[in-house]
């Protein structure tokens, strides 16, 4: 799918490089013998079938428009195989689990660096606003992009978020300013300002702020009754700022750096509790990091990529309730991490590529909890990958060696882990004349227990083993242009078998005290299908169709004699999918979109009372751009959930009904 029609600038701005798939990079690297290309418009690839050896679903800037994505969650829902856990509203946590693996198995790569959260293992994606996202892609297993840090292949799948590239004239100051307002008292100003010099130097600054009351109404069903309620204690104020700098360091190398700060203070409405609307929980999350990435083409055979990052995160939780000592609970966590990665890409022959990646990370956690053990972790990852590629065949194999060393300031430390994890993938074009490919991939990987799972007072266990996963995928991709009025049809279909063993779950000591053990085993089989097509109605009248469908049968296989054996794993729908059609025309662009999710259960044993009804959510999006005195103005109006469907993704966390938002964007 669409590597998008946006311009790819290899020595561009921070982050854009991460958006460029290696398939393209290597091509350009090889073709121009190590010289940096200025700007390449990759139109052609959007008509080709996906060449990726493992499933890769990408939403580039134009696709994000074509599917009518209004926020990060509406975009993620359109990626097949994803189980998005959405707690509702602008302040609701959103995590991504892929193909029945828990969210901690999904690596989130932001502008080239894999984010980490040693404490919970999960990354909350609600913090990324689409305004600054250039592309969003999901890679399941390892594909043929081999010029990647070792950490980005240390998880079962990766969600790659890349900042929007800036397209502007050289040696000018440019500015994008946007104001958005929406339902439930949402206000969201956004600004991006920067300059690019002909020397290759470019710098930009991003600032955004979101205020939202999130007090949306919902229907609470209770037996034969239903009542109209409102989310309470749900206010959010969130700010985010970034400075990005790109510095040419030679004719074939460049340095991109980013300084990032995020600060989100919100009330947590919590789950809906029957008959009790009282809730006082609050959470403030702060994150600051600085990262730098140096890319160099040393010769036409060797490229290098060096990354460094320092990350600081604070999670400050409090709750006011008479049941706590002193009437208040304060839990403050602080995490720090230093990360360094080096990747070398070696192209010894035209069809052959090897990469070696070595990553090092040191992270620690402190908190105000009296029983805090002060854990820290050293992570050393090395990956050796080989790729053979001809016009019709691509094959890759890689081996990842992981070393995780755990330390604590007091008490006993969690087990250390050393493992080798293999993966392999292949893509083949059976008939040269047809843009039709077959692909197969395998990956074995694991995740180590989080600090919470290992050390949280009473609940944690230092004896835990990693959760292990196995993934098998076979698929096909097809692209063709059947007619002048139908210039592009692209299809992907994948079937998979996923297994997870030694899943870490909480088991009770008693009602109050739980502990973590390696217990559950799950096997999932599924199918993911995507179809996209362009229909040319007339000159400058175009329809773009995008459809995705997933079937997922996910069985708990922990205990043959238990009530949950062979049922459907909690929160995994058997059927889910989405569809959209974008009508592009000279007047007002229109997108109509829908997402459908089948019924799910909140329990592995599929107790009827815990069934969560399926839903179909429909939205529309209208967009109009105008050029006034050489400046671009763009107005967007969205209505989400136009039929006001009442639904839940997570039980007890109702989602908003009908809502609207209006955005006005100005470009200098």
């Amino acid at each position: 799918m669409a590597l998008a029609a946006f311009c790819v600038c290899l020595h561009g701005h921070a982050g854009a490089s991460a958006a460029v798939p290696d398939s393209l990079r290597t091509k350009t690297d090889t073709v121009v013998s190590g010289r940096m290309l200025p700007e390449v418009t990759v139109e052609a690839s959007s008509r080709k079938a996906d060449r990726s050896t493992a499933p890769k679903f990408e939403l580039g800037a134009s696709s994000l428009k074509a599917i009518g994505a209004t926020d990060i969650s509406s975009a993620l829902k359109r990626l097949p195989g994803i189980n998005l856990k959405d707690y509702g509203g602008a302040g609701g946590m959103k995590t991504v689990a892929v193909r029945s693996f828990g969210a901690a198995h999904t690596g989130v790569v932001y502008d080239g660096v894999t984010l980490s959260n040693n404490r919970s293992g999960e990354v909350d994606l609600s913090r990324y606003s689409l305004d600054n996202v250039g592309s969003l892609s999901l890679i399941i297993g390892d594909n043929d992009d081999i010029f990647r840090p070792a950490r980005s292949i240390a998880s079962a799948s990766s969600l790659v978020i890349s900042s929007a590239p800036t397209v502007a004239d050289v040696d000018s100051l440019w500015l994008t300013a946007q104001m958005r307002a929406g339902s439930f008292s949402m206000l969201n100003p956004f600004m991006k300002v920067g300059t690019s010099r002909s020397s290759g130097l470019s710098v930009n600054f991003i600032g955004e702020f979101t205020h939202a009351l999130n007090d949306y109404p919902f229907t609470l069903r209770n037996g034969i009754y239903s009542s109209r309620e409102r989310r309470k204690n749900s206010l959010m104020n969130s700010g985010h700022g970034e400075i990005n700098l790109t510095l040419p360091t030679g004719s074939a190398s460049s340095l991109t750096s980013k300084i990032y700060y995020y600060d989100n203070g919100r009330q947590l409405p919590g789950p809906v509790i029957y008959y009790n609307p009282q809730c006082n929980e609050r959470l403030r999350e702060r994150n600051a990091f600085a990262q730098t990435l140096w890319r160099a083409t040393l010769s036409d055979k060797v490229s290098l990529r060096i990354t460094g990052k320092f990350n600081w995160e604070a999670s400050l939780y409090d709750d006011v309730n008479g049941r706590y000592p002193g009437g208040r609970l304060d839990q403050d966590y602080f995490q720090r991490e230093v990360y360094a990665s080096g990747v070398a890409l070696w192209l010894p022959a035209p069809n052959l590529a090897f990469s070696y990646a070595a990553d090092f990370a040191y992270g620690n956690l402190s908190s105000n909890l009296p029983q805090e053990v002060g854990p820290s972790r050293y992570t050393i990852l090395q990956a050796l990958t080989g790729r053979y590629r001809t016009g019709r065949l691509t094959a890759t194999a890689s081996l990842l060696g992981s070393i995780y060393l755990n330390r604590v300031q007091k008490g006993s430390e969690a087990r250390d882990n050393n493992r080798l994890s293999p993966s392999a993938s292949i893509s083949f074009q059976p008939i040269a004349a047809y843009d039709w490919r077959l692909r197969a991939s395998y990956k074995s990987i694991f995740r180590v227990p989080t600090f919470n799972e290992s050390y949280f007072f009473h609940y944690g266990s230092t004896d835990l083993l990693p959760e292990t996963t196995q993934q098998f995928n076979i698929g096909t991709t097809l692209g063709f242009s059947p007619a002048r009025w139908l210039p592009r049809v692209a299809l992907t279909a994948d079937a998979y078998l996923n297994e997870i063993d030694d899943m870490i779950v909480g088991v009770p000591y008693n009602m109050f005290v739980w502990t973590m053990v390696n217990l559950d085993k799950v096997r999932a089989m599924g199918v993911d299908v995507t179809l996209s097509a362009d229909v040319r109605l007339a000159a400058s009248h175009k329809l773009e169709w995008n459809l995705n469908y997933s079937y997922q049968r996910s069985k708990p296989l922990t205990d043959k004699n238990s009530a949950e054996y062979g049922k459907q794993v909690a929160y995994i729908p058997l059927n889910s999918g989405g569809g959209s059609v974008a009508y592009t025309n000279p007047w007002v662009d229109l997108v109509v979109k829908a997402i459908g999710v089948g019924p799910r259960f909140a329990t592995n044993s599929n107790i009827p009372d815990t069934r969560i009804a399926g839903y179909v959510e429909v939205g529309i999006s209208l967009r109009r751009s105008l050029s006034i005195r050489g400046h671009l103005w763009e107005a967007t109006f969205d209505i989400d959930n136009i039929f006001d469907k009442q639904y839940q993704v997570i039980a007890r966390y109702p989602m908003p009904g009908r809502s609207w938002r209006l955005s006005l964007k100005f470009q200098l």
Binding site: G223, P271, N276, P508, S562, A602
Partner: protein, 363 residues
């Protein structure tokens, strides 16, 4: 549910005949007798897994367990994490902790008569209710005991105890309240080593008796008082049943659950990770402890003794992969007083409390 109600009425009818048939001669004070026609199991459910709390009713006449009895009678769920219930007079009072309310229902029809919710600063989040002398006492997790008048069904007094009071019992003119400090586990339940002794007459806390770490359960037969301290889940501080004698406390035996019936204290010791579960009886007259040959329980959640028949009921979680599951429906076993199994009934999820549909009727 209509069927059940009908059966309950049927079951109660012979009792009323008995009560009314003896009309000859002078009419002395009628001698009261306790009758019982079934078992209520309070299932706390699991809020995180979207399982509301529920009530299971086991009917002695039909020998059947009906699930979701409150929802069947009222068309709506009971609420989130109910903890216990008490039958008193014609009503039953159910403490629904996370929904922050006490549900008052007719003990036969189970129709809700009043829902008492708590917003005051003198106590919210009810954990345990008991009835005595025309009042219902409710321990509130934020550190109070509230007194509810059973005629007006409204709160008519409160006393500060705590922190985090759990079970209570009455002996003589005193209410004993276990102060668990359960929310302070990070500090080793530092303030949770006491039982509050509350004078019923003045409804004031007379003293706090030191009993051991994390007391959660209380039992009394009206004269002797027992408290179960859960400890801090370490080997040095195991869960222990203790007797309160005056202001002194005497450790009896390791135990995690208990129930009292006349001169017998039944207790279960099922600490985490222990390979076996011990069932024992303390005879309060002879002070001797004997084993009870109970079998067929995976992970006990509650124990109670039927006041009329002396039969023992033990509820349990189901096991998944060798561990008690708090997300799947559990069950309850009925045993004769000698420990032999009579019958197993299924329950809702997390059957944490057992009580009986009893009534005092004239003999």
């Amino acid at each position: 549910m209509k069927k059940i109600v009908f059966k309950l009425i049927l079951a109660a009818l012979p009792l009323s005949f008995v009560a009314c048939s003896d009309d000859d001669g002078p009419r002395p004070e009628p001698e009261m007798v306790t009758v019982s026609n079934g078992v209520f199991v309070v299932n706390s459910g699991n809020l995180r897994s979207n399982i509301p709390g529920s009530l299971t009713f086991i009917d002695y006449v039909t020998g059947q367990a009906s699930q979701d009895a409150f929802k069947t009678a009222n068309g709506r769920v009971l609420g989130d994490t109910p903890q216990n219930a008490v039958v008193y007079g014609s009503k039953m009072y159910i403490a629904v902790y996370q929904s922050n309310l006490i549900e008052v229902v007719d003990r036969v029809s189970l129709k809700s008569l009043k829902t008492i919710s708590f917003e005051s600063t003198t106590g919210s989040q009810p954990r345990f209710v008991l009835a005595h002398g025309g009042k219902v006492y409710a321990s509130m997790y934020d550190g109070y005991v509230q007194r509810i008048d059973t005629i007006s069904l409204s709160v008519d007094g409160a006393v500060k105890v705590g922190p985090n009071p759990e079970e209570m019992c009455v002996a003589g003119d005193y209410l004993y309240v276990a102060n668990s400090d359960g929310m302070n586990y990070q500090n080793g339940y530092a303030d949770g080593c006491t039982v509050s002794k509350v004078a019923l007459g003045s409804f004031t806390e007379e003293k706090k008796i030191n009993v051991g770490v994390n007391p959660t359960k209380m039992a009394s037969n009206g004269s002797e008082v027992f408290v179960l301290t859960m400890g801090d889940y370490s080997e040095e501080n195991p869960a222990t049943v203790r007797q309160i004698i005056g202001d002194q406390v005497k450790a009896i035996a390791p135990a995690t659950l208990m129930a009292i019936h006349e001169k017998q204290l039944y207790f279960i010791n099922a600490p985490y990770g222990a390979p076996q579960i011990d069932y024992k009886v303390l005879d309060l007259t002879s002070q001797s402890i004997t084993s009870l040959p109970v079998s067929g329980v995976d992970s006990p959640a509650g124990i109670a003794v039927e006041p009329v028949s002396g039969e023992i009921f033990i509820s349990s979680y189901e096991m998944v992969g060798g561990y008690a599951s708090y997300k799947t429906p559990g069950y309850i076993n009925q045993y004769k007083a000698d420990g032999s199994l009579v019958k197993r009934y299924s329950t809702g999820v997390a059957p944490c409390y057992i009580n009986f549909n009893i009534a005092e009727v004239a003999k």
